[in-house]
């Protein structure tokens, strides 16, 4: 099984998929899963931009909306966690995870999911001391305060993850676990990011709960992003196990933002996305601990007269399994709960919380609470039933190529040297990479495909043909129809 790991996505899905596809072609491999460590920016429309904690000049729709509207289909199953730049209103609809677009799955505030026999865990958001112990009180409309605190990690989510006892293979967090810098080439990191020195030396860099989880869960791999720089580390645990840590950069040219992980075939299984029984049983066991007050709250621990160990028993796991019946998470459950993107519509801050059917179904099955629904009900408000937004005909007819996108600087041949250099540098310096015999790429540009490429001015002409093909080829054709495509030839040759 091959997994591609991406650092911060920052809405640049087109580029990331281009990268992955070109890599597949170049290396002659098939990538089964793409995981992304936050700042995904699942922005569906102009309103969602207002639920993202960024200055207005960055209110850029980027490319996710195409995958949401159905204009494009993600060519690779994509799994992501939330970071600190997210359409928080959308992610709040899916506290326990769900499809944000066909083939793109959000893991939830915290969560564990299975892909084949691989167990992947994730913790969304970033750590901020002052909000850590608070309840889950935020709801749209956001104030300038709650717009930020909504993505701050809460102790309840960490508490839930720390109940897990079965082996987690891959763990993701957006910010780095605290102290991780000490397990890698710290000097090199400081040379590249000198401003981190003070934080590293005072052990302030990174997230203490992530550090705690790294030490408790001892996953085989831990991926993170956030600091926009690549950094590898190896943590040896007391019991002889190891966690290979890798932080990745954001998706920009010449940046190390993508990593391919080659895993043994024993993890392959059915290569389907499935719910994790142990995790769901923890969710069910800890449902009563949910607080939606914006005050600090504590969780039960040793010495209290209520239960404090929520690691599920076999009986509890069996019960959850019987409630769920089918563990496979099928793409069919995706529902559009907000209108698709229309350029030039006003950006109105989302003021209503929408009930996402995916969350409703899971909550009903497990008989657990949707934190947002409780937060609203506590205030006497209720969630809005979703209207069903299907892909609109008009959109299909719109020529896709005229996208006022901010594209990275055109790729010049000099990049090739840079690329090969860094690749070798990586594989030498990094036991992480050599051990797993991975192919590394910071592929920021897709090489020209060998297939025939022709310029298309009107997609509608081909829509019928595409519908029949219904596969990724059509996407890549559309993708390569960009102004830069002619410059790729030499690059792909060089590789």
């Amino acid at each position: 099984m091959k997994i591609a790991v991406e650092g911060c996505a920052h809405g640049e899905l087109d580029k990331i998929y281009e990268c992955v596809e070109s890599l597949q072609e170049r290396e002659g491999i098939k990538i089964d899963l793409l995981i992304c460590c936050g700042d995904f920016q699942a922005v569906r429309n102009n309103d969602d931009l207002r639920a993202m904690a960024v200055p207005e000049k960055y209110h850029n729709i980027c490319t996710f909306y195409k995958y949401y509207s159905g204009e494009k289909i993600a060519p690779i199953l994509t799994l992501f966690i939330g970071g600190n730049h997210e359409a928080s209103n959308y992610l709040q609809e899916l506290p326990f995870g769900g499809w944000v677009a066909p083939n793109i799955f959000y893991i939830g505030r915290a969560g564990v999911i299975q892909f084949g026999n691989l167990r992947l865990g994730g913790l969304s958001g970033i750590f901020k001391n002052h909000d850590y112990l608070q309840g889950l009180w935020e709801s749209p409309p956001y104030s300038s305060n709650s717009l930020r605190s909504v993505y701050h990690i809460r102790s309840l989510d960490v508490f839930r993850l720390s109940q897990l006892k079965e082996k987690i293979h891959v763990m993701m967090s957006h910010d780095w676990p605290r102290g991780i810098a000490n397990y890698g080439d710290k000097d090199n990191l400081l040379r590249r990011k000198p401003f981190l020195r003070e934080d590293i030396e005072s052990n302030q860099l990174g997230s203490p709960p992530a550090e705690k989880l790294l030490n408790e869960l001892k996953p085989e791999y831990w991926f993170a992003a956030h600091l926009h720089c690549q950094f590898a580390a190896l943590v040896k645990h007391g019991d002889g196990t190891e966690t290979k840590f890798l932080a990745l950069d954001k998706c920009l040219p010449k940046r190390r933002h993508l990593q391919i992980l080659d895993l043994p075939a024993e993890y392959d299984g059915d290569k389907q996305l499935k719910y994790d029984i142990e995790w769901l049983a923890v969710l069910k066991n800890t449902n009563h601990l949910l607080s939606v007050k914006n005050v600090d709250c504590h969780l039960p621990g040793p010495g209290s007269n209520e239960r404090y160990n929520f690691t599920p028993t076999n009986e509890e796991k069996d019960h959850v399994a019987s409630l769920l019946q089918n563990l496979v998470i099928s793409n069919d459950s995706f529902v559009r709960t907000a209108p698709i993107y229309k350029p030039n519509t006003p950006k109105r801050a989302p003021c209503e919380a929408i009930m996402n059917p995916q969350t409703v179904v899971l909550c009903e099955k497990l008989s657990i609470d949707d934190p947002l629904q409780v937060a609203l009900a506590r205030m006497g408000r209720s969630m809005k039933q979703p209207e069903v937004f299907e892909t609109m005909e008009i959109v299909e007819k719109t020529p896709i190529k005229c996208l006022p996108m901010t594209l990275p600087a055109p790729v010049t041949p000099s990049d090739c040297e840079d690329l090969s250099e860094t690749t070798s540098a990586l594989s030498q310096s990094n036991s992480f990479l050599t051990e797993t015999e991975n192919t590394t790429s910071e592929c920021d540009t897709p090489p020209q495909s060998n297939k025939k490429v022709f310029k298309r001015r009107n997609l509608a002409m081909y829509s019928l043909e595409e519908a029949e093909n219904g596969n990724n080829t059509s996407d890549s054709l559309v993708d390569s129809d960009s102004p830069r495509s002619s410059k790729f030839a030499c690059k792909s040759n060089a590789l």
Partner: protein
């Protein structure tokens, strides 16, 4: 997997045991076995002869039955010890408390009449305001996120409940209690069940309110059951299927019904930390914003103004810290013994002769910001002090205030063993008066687990092992713990509440230090260290 409990309630039994149990038997026959039967009113009557058959086991009690305390002094003699069986399968639960059934249903109860509202005490049949807060505290204890209890059983009706606009009911004035209204608004039962003298009454459900405005809580169904076997055929038995509140979805608990009403009780009751106590309103708020590490205004006026510059500098400069062992300002003659990371010293103006301080040698602001070694040694000091105090027949209260202090001080105050049961209550009373939200945390809690490093707090450790924790806000009284410990029920030395009012002359301090050293020697682990190194 059914996690619901089939529950039966009945009103005053008044000795009509046959009527009760034969009815229950026929219900069981019709709708299957029930888990519990709760008798919310008087179990005994003037004639209790019917009970003999159950005692002799010639008749059987069909469902495990729980009986609560008396409200009639003539009946007191019939009750057995709390938690024991009156007859097989009928258990007496006492007058106040909370119990959790095997299905995890929580039942809180406070039976009998209100001594304060009745104006007289009837032995074993009346309750005190402190009983109300005890029941409330028992409900809240150990609950990270309090939702409410499943059932509240009281003899008296809460005042206000009968003023429902749609369903007025005649209830005698003496059956109403403000204290029960206070209890009900605080514990938020899903079912509040009381006995009624004649008529059955079911109020429309009302929605509980949280402490914060507009914070909704679960709804309460208030039901009054008529006496067992009454002639008017008023309903006297009530059956329901209870899912424990902790296993329910909050979403369902907050789901409103069309007939629900607002909470009928005065929301001001929620703000009363202790029932019926008048809450002090602080007068001049401006004063408390003074950044100077000062005391309440009482103390401030008495202090020499010349102290101020010194005090301000103390916060900034550890060299002039009163408590850093290396600082020149430390009063060395007060030091009792020195460990690796901490030392023991006599405080200025001790509450009792063996009142001491545990202080870190280096400058650490609070236990939550101290390194592990320091925390470990503090624990060691606490343990030996506990042993030392208990050898003199005393129990120890430790407290720390990380608020307007720059160097951590853990105060250790020995109290006579016989006052131990009152300590918690006095702390809570004083907290109520000062509007401090004092939380009771279970044994073994680490303060660092409930608060963030650097956040201000007050923390006390009681002889029971329980911890008291409060987030200190602007108006936190600096002498809070001294106020509590010096109060009449505990040390009874109110004149010593302010340490500046009871400063000792140097000779007395020297004498106290040397006696403490002598007596403490067998327990002093720092002395062992010294002899090892010799």
């Amino acid at each position: 997997m059914s996690d619901k409990q089939k529950t039966l309630f009945c009103g005053d039994v008044n000795g009509n045991f046959n009527a009760l149990f034969s009815r229950v038997e026929s219900i069981v026959k019709k709708s299957g076995p029930f888990d519990v039967l709760l008798c919310v009113g008087n179990f005994f009557g003037d004639d209790n002869s019917q009970l003999d058959a159950y005692k002799m086991r010639t008749r059987k009690v069909p469902v495990t039955t729980y009986v609560f305390g008396p409200s009639n002094s003539d009946h007191v003699k019939y009750y057995c010890e709390e938690g024991c069986e009156i007859v097989p399968n009928v258990i007496y639960m006492g007058r106040r408390g909370i119990f959790t059934t095997s299905a995890e249903v929580k039942i809180a109860y406070l039976t009998g009449l209100s001594r304060r509202e009745l104006g007289k005490e009837i032995a074993s049949c009346t309750f005190e305001p402190s009983d109300c807060s005890a029941v409330r505290d028992a409900c809240y204890r150990g609950q990270s996120e309090y939702r409410g209890v499943d059932v509240l059983i009281t003899t008296l009706w809460p005042s206000g409940v009968q003023q429902d606009e749609c369903q007025k009911v005649d209830v005698k004035e003496e059956s109403l209690s403000n204290l029960i209204a206070w209890l009900s608004i605080h514990v938020k039962p899903r079912y509040h069940i009381v006995p009624s003298a004649d008529k059955f009454y079911e109020r429309q459900p009302y929605r509980n309110q949280g402490m914060h405005q507009d914070y909704k809580e679960c709804a309460t169904r208030f039901i009054a059951l008529a006496p067992v076997g009454n002639k008017a055929k008023e309903k006297w038995v009530y059956a329901c299927l209870l899912q424990p509140i902790t296993k329910m979805r909050m979403t369902d608990l907050l789901q409103s019904t069309t007939d629900e009403t607002d909470c009928p009780y005065d929301p001001e009751l929620l703000k009363q930390h202790q029932p019926g106590k008048v809450v002090k309103v602080s007068g001049n708020g401006q004063f408390f914003f003074n950044m100077d590490a000062s005391e309440d205004d009482h103390g401030k006026r008495k202090r020499k103004s010349g102290d101020n510059p010194d005090r301000k500098r103390r916060d900034i400069d550890p060299d002039s810290c009163w408590f850093c062992l290396s600082s020149p300002t430390v009063e060395k003659h007060l030091v009792i013994c020195v460990g690796r990371h901490c030392y023991l010293a006599l405080p200025k103006g001790p509450l009792t002769p063996y009142h001491v301080l545990i202080l870190p040698i280096a400058h650490h602001q609070s236990i939550t910001k101290s390194p592990d070694d320091v925390v470990k040694e503090i624990k060691l000091f606490k343990d030996v002090l506990k042993k030392f105090y208990s050898s003199t027949g005393k129990v120890a209260v430790f407290f720390e205030r990380n608020y307007k202090t720059s160097h951590m001080q853990i105060q250790c105050v020995p109290l006579p063993k016989h006052v131990e049961p009152q300590i918690l209550e006095v702390f809570q009373d004083e907290a109520g008066i000062n509007r401090i939200e004092l939380e009771v945390l279970p044994q073994y809690t680490e303060i660092a687990q409930v608060t963030l490093p650097g956040a201000p707090y007050f923390h006390a450790e009681l002889p029971s092992g329980e911890h008291l924790y409060a987030k200190t806000k602007q108006h936190f009284p600096l002498q809070f713990a001294r106020d509590v410990l010096s109060s009449p029920p505990l040390l009874n030395c109110e004149d010593k509440a302010d340490w500046r009012q009871c400063l000792l002359p140097r000779e007395e301090e020297d004498a106290l230090v040397s006696t403490f050293r002598d007596k403490f020697r067998p327990f002093d682990f720092t002395a062992d260290d010294d002899s090892d190194s010799d």
